[in-house]
Amino acid sequence: MGSVSRRGLLAAGAGLLAACGSNTGRGGGSSGSGLVQWYHQYGEAGTEQAVRRYAAAFTKARVSVQWRPGNYDQQTAAALLTDSGPDVFEVDGPTLDQIQGGQVLDLSALVEGVKGDFNPAVLGPKTYRGRVYGIPQVIDTQMLYYRKSLLREAGVEPPVSLDALLDAARALTRGTVKGLFLGNDGGAGVLGGTPLYAAGLRLVTEDGGVGFDEPAAARTLGKLHRLYADKSLLLGAPSDWADPSAFLQGLTAMQWSGLWALPRVREELGDDFGVLPFPGDGVGGRPSVPVGAYGAAVSARSRHKEVAKEYVKWLWVERTDLQQDFALDYGFHIPARVSLARRARRLRTGPAADAVRFATEHGHAQPLLWTPAAQTAYQDALSRIIQGGASPEREVRGVVRKVSEELARVTRKR
């Protein structure tokens, strides 16, 4: 054995020993002196560095940022059951069960005085009985991207009703190009409640009842199966709806995707694309796009509750400069603060401006009462309707029953 490799082995051995001896540099969770903050993994370059920079700029406590890959909801849910979870974390919620279970702190005091500046559509689902449990960070929305040149060639107008969308998708399906891409599962996952809102319905009514116990629901959802049955949908693309690759590579003429895809689409297609909301259907129908916001929440198990709250207030309420940086300089999101959104220059022209308008005029957020169990039941039914060709009436009846049970459960509590 030559001396080089022996030295290499020694170094490796020393590394292993060092790794054995220390734990990984940090005791469990919030037991240390500083705060621990969790983010889910954003795909846009620079975001991670940015949030670490913000954390470092907070002077009252040391904040260590954890950047979590994989299924984020599952990790936060498990971590919140223990003392080794985060102090501050972003969450696609908090969910009603997290609030009712006392897992997250009441943050109402933090937004005192500026509550009106937060977009009400996304603040609403973070509010339970008048108390705010999560501070919206940025607004995300989705919309329909279409390729202007392909529509022109096929002699198709940008569709403004669901029926027109069906016709357009069929007309645009030619050879290897499909008309529409709603995700690899045919739309059940990404569309969620959007078609119901487009039919003039809602997921949950103001007084906590089922919002789609109407014939219109079955009618509209049934049309989604037509898209599938017509073979107008792109299915099984190598990348899913959240990624514009299928659209950009010409596998589809129209694709449902997120606002975050806009910079890449513009870079590759220039002016050859436009955006639309999900078109309305029927007499009471109106266009619709989903809006949602990750919110900053504080864990009830944090050992530094007050500092954690101060930090959240500092970052997500006071430092509007950082909020603007976070929303617009890496990915492409709408600031959660109305005042910031209005000032953002990048959101004032072209498709970006359209997207902001859709979100403001047609945006619907998933209501707090719409629990994961309700969502699963609904999504299963939608999938059976679209892919399985199941009877929409029967499926809707089944979902209505399950969702009413679930609503009864959560409104009974406390």
């Binding site: 995700g183 299915l235 190598p238 892919q387």
Partner: protein, 300 residues
Amino acid sequence: MRRTRALWFWVFVGPFALGLALFTYVPLLWSVALGFFDAHNTVTPTHFVGLGNYAAVLRDDAFVGSLETFVVFTAFIVPATYVFSLSLALMVNRVRRARAFFRSVFFLPAACSYVVAALIWKMSIFNGVRSGLANTVLGWFGGEPVAWLAGTDPPWYWLVVVTVRLWLQAGFYMILFLAGLQRIDPVLYEAAAVDGARPGWTVLRHITLPQLRATSVAVVLLLVVNAFQAFDEFYNLLSDARGYPPYARPPLVYLYYTALGQGQNLGLGSAGAVILALVVAVVTVAQARWLGLGRREGDG
């Protein structure tokens, strides 16, 4: 003497038993207890509901459906893996040249994780567009591209799920069969040849298979238990950020979404898990009795 032996027994078995008690039995009993409580987002629930969760999970057609999925999956995968890995073993055993090479090639996939295998299957072999390997082959024969994972009629997803598992596991079971084949006394084959039995089917049926009985029993048992525990390939092939389709959803995937995701209905999940474990136990014990596990070659 008996004392000392007991002491030595625990010296050998104690550390393992202690660890198993702490890291398996404690969570297991805890889990069973959760099944009797309304445990949304908590592992220290206070609201006792008796058998409420059991009633609820049995009423949930998604759970019952997942058990059906398991039955269908088992009906596919157990005979397919059995026949395929046995055939591989028979061929590899008889081949004269490069036996080690073939054995390695068939065994190598066992080193791959389900995550990596599912990635290749989903993105490069069974994607729904023309660039997928399966669709390319179809195209040579003039077929239209098929969205393998995205439709229920016909349920092509079974082809994807079964082939990925076959690729990953066949080699391992082939090794088990090869070991069994090595143990068969060559005298038996010579005697058969003297009796005029033609090599091939007759010999396989009357000598090889009966001699492989113990191996077969073990293989079938392992296959069934593994089918129950199936999770990884289903999850990695079919789930996306928004959830999981209502078809091809085996019990563990159902439990995962009920209890581990944001659903966090730990009471319901635990009740489902207990039912599942009971079903596995009953099936395994029944199967072991029926197939006569424990009898070794020659005893039977």
